[in-house]
């Protein structure tokens, strides 16, 4: 028995790789059903659905960007203190001292910009495809919530470097929130944890950016993908754009 054989037949290996690579329908289904990450994915997809022009992969790219952002964000959290003035000092540490720190920061920043852009395009693609019509109206609403969460993440992340740009952007943004009828001033107070952009605001934005909003987004993505599976994606499993078939979400 060769080493390879012994390895592939070991219990550990078989616990991790339960199915082989044979391209039978049964094997494919087992592969997906047994995999915790892939079970949201269809076991079998029509090749037509994979065509670039149907979605331009915009949803998938958004998901990948979210993955990159989560990973790079976790690494950035190792170096970042949400306190004044250390937050800005940490930017300098990332730039000048931390190994690949600037790369880490840049990839996080550019991916964030890209994610906002791609999510917008995704929305446009769905809109012009009339893919928001029943039976996918629920997923459209979920998608809009995901867009808002994406924007929220982008905005809260903007304050964290604690530079002039960040400070004034948040000062302006929260003053805009203050213009909300009735609850405006309270809303601003709630966002900033005070009346001015200061240490409390930095801490709140940090918690929102690193815990609340990403968790909400992850759950939203799960629901979104689940509905894609059940109701069909942009081009839809029903095969017809704008089918009037009512499906309970």
């Amino acid at each position: 028995m060769s080493m390879l054989q012994r390895l592939t037949e070991s219990r550990v290996w078989r616990a991790l790789v339960r199915q082989g690579v044979s391209a039978t329908n049964r094997n494919r289904i087992l592969l997906v059903m047994d995999n915790v990450f892939l079970h949201l994915h269809s076991a079998k997809t029509r090749s037509r659905n994979l065509e670039l022009s149907s979605t331009y992969f915009l949803g998938a790219i958004s998901l990948v960007l979210f993955g990159i952002l989560t990973l790079s964000g976790l690494l950035l959290m190792l170096y970042y203190h949400p306190s004044v003035p250390q937050a800005y000092h940490d930017m300098k540490e990332l730039q000048f001292v931390v190994s690949n720190g600037l790369f880490l920061r840049n990839i996080h920043r550019w991916s964030a910009h890209a994610m906002v852009f791609i999510v917008f395009l995704h929305l446009l693609r769905v809109f012009y495809h009339k893919a928001y019509l029943p039976p996918r109206e629920f997923n459209w609403v979920v998608g809009v919530i995901l867009l808002l969460l994406t924007l929220g993440l982008s905005y809260t992340g903007y304050l964290l470097p604690w530079d002039q740009l960040a400070f004034w952007a948040v000062a302006v943004g929260t003053n805009m929130a203050e213009a909300t009828p009735l609850i405006g001033p309270k809303l601003r107070y709630l966002l900033l944890g005070g009346n001015a952009v200061g240490e409390n605001a930095l801490l709140r934005f940090y918690v929102l950016h690193c815990a609340l909003l990403p968790l909400a987004l992850a759950m939203g993505v799960a629901v979104h993908l689940w509905r894609v599976r059940k109701d069909g994606g942009v081009q839809g499993s029903s095969g017809r754009y704008g089918s009037r078939r009512q499906v309970k979400p």
């Binding site: 090749s47 540490e93 000048f96 190994s99 690949n100």
Partner: protein
């Protein structure tokens, strides 16, 4: 299904190509990370050390140098981190003075070694301490507000912690702070710690009795044209503005203060006697005449063309009635003295070719009103008091934090030619304020290059940097001024214009007055106060002759003998007289060991740089001589007498010898 296969293949190819591209991109960052700029500097430094190594140990030391970021970290001070020493590795190493930057040793400064660890580099040199690339560290990037400070202004950083007027071993900022005050900057600008500043500019009431409109016009046109030492800057006033100001000043009511009532013209007076009094009183110890004088008081060369005889007489009789803050002492002149002295001054010190006096000047009330507005708007009231106008209005912008202002926040106006840096801006703003905008009110100062540098240095020190209280060296509050009758006399004779008491006062004498009782003999002091004799012929700033009456001189001598005693100075060095062997040994030391005769004269033999020693014993107590010899620079760093590190026993014998030769026959007894 060929189609499907083909498209699948294409997809795989795309996947492959993009994966390779992605890998390449991913490799860039680690490579950049590895080949950081400082790595080359550190290798060059190690090579340099190897080249210069003189021993095996040094070679090994050089080889063992790791390539790594080095830093000074000050966690207790806003978590400051300065990584300058990552490249500047030679700063705290001696013997690297001759190498090129970045490896050169730090020049000798009052701070070194442990202090570098305590302060870091950036607090003095500015720049970006956390950076590890040259451009970023030196603050040359757009997003860093605090670029490296040019070496010419580096003393400004001393002033961030040293808040006193005098910063030890930093003459540039000390001079700059002096200039800021003497040029009247605080009159217009709110300045940290100077909110209540009132300068020594004269009150302008009763100007009509003192001088003429012609003189005031000439003065306002450009003060420096009248006197090169004028403290007042050039306000660039137009002729009609000057007319308005003169009209305003001439519309003020006349003075009615004490000592001024006798103002009137007089043509009497003895010129020759006046000249004698002028010389005896040593007016030129402070006032400049013919280029002599230390310049601490206004020059007198053209005073006869400026003031009226009556005013001069009243002023000489009681200067403090005119200017309570003046440094001019109250001389005890008699009425005749004043008459003669003023006759001499009015005739001797005139401007040749001056126009005739214009006596019949009547101010136009409308011009006077205009002048009052100008007086406030142009900031005259910042320095000068006059009836009807509130003094102390600060019309200029506050200068709080000016030294840390980012260049991006400065208004360069029309000056496209200036480098966009704070020091250049400050300098141009003081030198040519109207070049930024023609309507700026800031006056023009008669500064030379050195003055500009000093003032800019002092301004750059006005920082809003947070300094831990433990590092701050505040201005020492002056101690208690002399009190009681002695205090009144000290104030009348303005002793503190030259002498120091409890940290306050001038810096002309070599030791503070508070040691005077340990220094000189009472009898001598009394005589000296009545009629000062010359101690150091080379000095210009000699003691002035105040004509102190005997009773007051005796009282002051008693007071100093008993109160102004320095306990560290032995009172009785030779209680039983100077032993002869001490005199003999002292003589040898004096002539052979320490060579004192090269500056001091005994029996007409020796140099004349220091005081003549014959008769010195009548003045100085041996205890003082003994103490002085062991550290002439104890009170002042610039004392010329060299510190030869004379040990106690040598100092005793030298004092004995000096006592014996300079004071024959006098016992060293109380």
């Amino acid at each position: 299904m060929l189609n499907e296969k083909e498209s699948s293949n294409r997809l795989w190819r795309w996947f492959g190509v993009s994966s390779v591209l992605f890998l390449v991109v991913m490799a860039i960052s680690p490579l950049k990370d590895y080949f950081r700029e400082y790595r080359d500097y550190q290798k060059a430094y190690a090579d340099l050390l190897l080249d210069r190594a003189g021993s095996r140990k040094e070679v090994e030391e050089a080889k063992a140098l790791a390539v790594e970021i080095r830093q000074i970290w000050i966690p207790d001070w806003n978590n400051r981190v300065d990584r300058c020493i990552t490249c500047h590795q030679g700063v705290d190493r001696q013997g690297m003075e001759d190498v090129a930057q970045p490896f050169r040793s730090h020049p000798d400064t009052p701070h070194s070694g442990d202090d570098f660890q305590a302060f870091g580099c950036v607090i003095c040199h500015r720049g970006q301490g956390r950076a590890t690339t040259v451009a970023d560290a030196h603050g040359d990037s757009e997003d860093w507000d605090s670029p490296l400070l040019p070496a010419a202004y580096v003393e400004s950083s001393c002033g961030i912690c040293h808040l006193g007027k005098v910063v030890p071993e930093a003459s540039m900022i000390t001079e700059g702070r002096r200039l800021l005050e003497s040029s009247g900057c605080f009159g217009c600008h709110d300045f940290p710690g100077q909110r209540d500043w009132i300068g020594t500019a004269p009150r302008l009431d009763g100007l009509a009795e003192k001088t003429t409109p012609r003189w005031v016009r000439a003065w306002l046109r450009r003060p420096a044209d009248w006197s090169a030492e004028a403290a007042m800057p050039d306000f660039r006033l137009a002729d009609d503005e000057i007319d308005a100001l003169v009209a305003f000043l001439w519309s003020r009511p006349p003075l009615n203060g004490p000592g001024v009532t006798g103002i009137g013209e007089s043509s009497q007076g003895d010129y020759d006697r006046g000249r004698k009094i002028f010389r005896e009183s040593r007016c030129i110890s402070c006032h400049t005449v013919d280029g002599k004088g230390n310049g601490s008081a206004p020059e007198l060369e053209k005073i006869g063309s400026k003031v009226s005889r009556g005013w001069l007489m009243a002023y000489l009789s009681d200067p403090h009635a005119f200017q309570p803050e003046t440094a001019m002492p109250q001389f005890q002149f008699t009425g005749n003295d004043v008459l003669d002295l003023s006759a001499y001054m009015m005739e001797e010190f005139i401007e040749f070719g001056a126009e005739a006096q214009d006596d019949a000047y009547k101010p136009d009330p409308r011009a006077a009103e205009e002048g009052q507005k100008l007086f406030v708007n142009r900031g005259c009231s910042g320095c000068h008091a006059v009836q009807g106008v509130e003094q102390g209005m600060r019309i200029g912008p506050a200068l709080t934090g000016i030294g840390g202002k980012p260049a991006g926040m400065l208004d360069f106006g029309k000056r496209d030619d200036l480098p966009r840096t704070l020091p250049d801006w400050l300098r141009a703003k003081i030198a040519e304020p109207d070049s930024f905008r023609p309507d700026l009110k800031m006056p023009r100062f008669e500064f030379d290059d050195k003055d500009f540098e000093a003032v800019v240095t002092a301004l750059l020190a006005v920082s809003d940097e947070e300094i831990p209280p433990a590092l701050l060296i505040r201005a020492e509050p002056p101690g208690e001024p002399p009190a009681g009758r002695f205090g009144r006399l000290v104030s009348r004779y303005r002793c503190l214009a030259c002498h120091q008491v409890n940290g306050a006062g001038g810096d002309i004498s070599t030791a503070p007055l508070t040691a005077e009782g340990s220094k000189v003999r009472r009898e001598w002091l009394e005589q000296y106060l009545m009629l000062p004799t010359t101690i150091r012929p080379l000095l210009t700033d000699r003691m002035i002759h105040l004509r102190i009456p005997q009773e007051e001189a005796s009282f002051m001598a008693d007071y100093m003998e008993n109160v102004y005693v320095d306990d560290a100075i032995p009172e009785l060095l030779f209680p039983d007289g100077v032993p002869p062997e001490s005199v003999e040994r002292g003589r040898k030391l004096f002539y052979e060991r320490y060579g004192c005769q090269s500056c001091h004269m005994i029996d007409n033999q020796g140099g004349y740089y220091g005081p003549i020693l014959n008769g010195l014993g009548a003045r100085l107590k041996p205890g003082w001589t003994f103490w002085w010899l062991q550290g002439p620079q104890r009170w002042r760093a610039d004392v010329r007498c060299p510190d030869q590190g004379i040990p106690t026993e040598d100092a005793t014998d030298l004092a004995g010898f000096i006592e014996a030769v300079s004071n024959p026959g006098m016992e060293d007894a109380p």
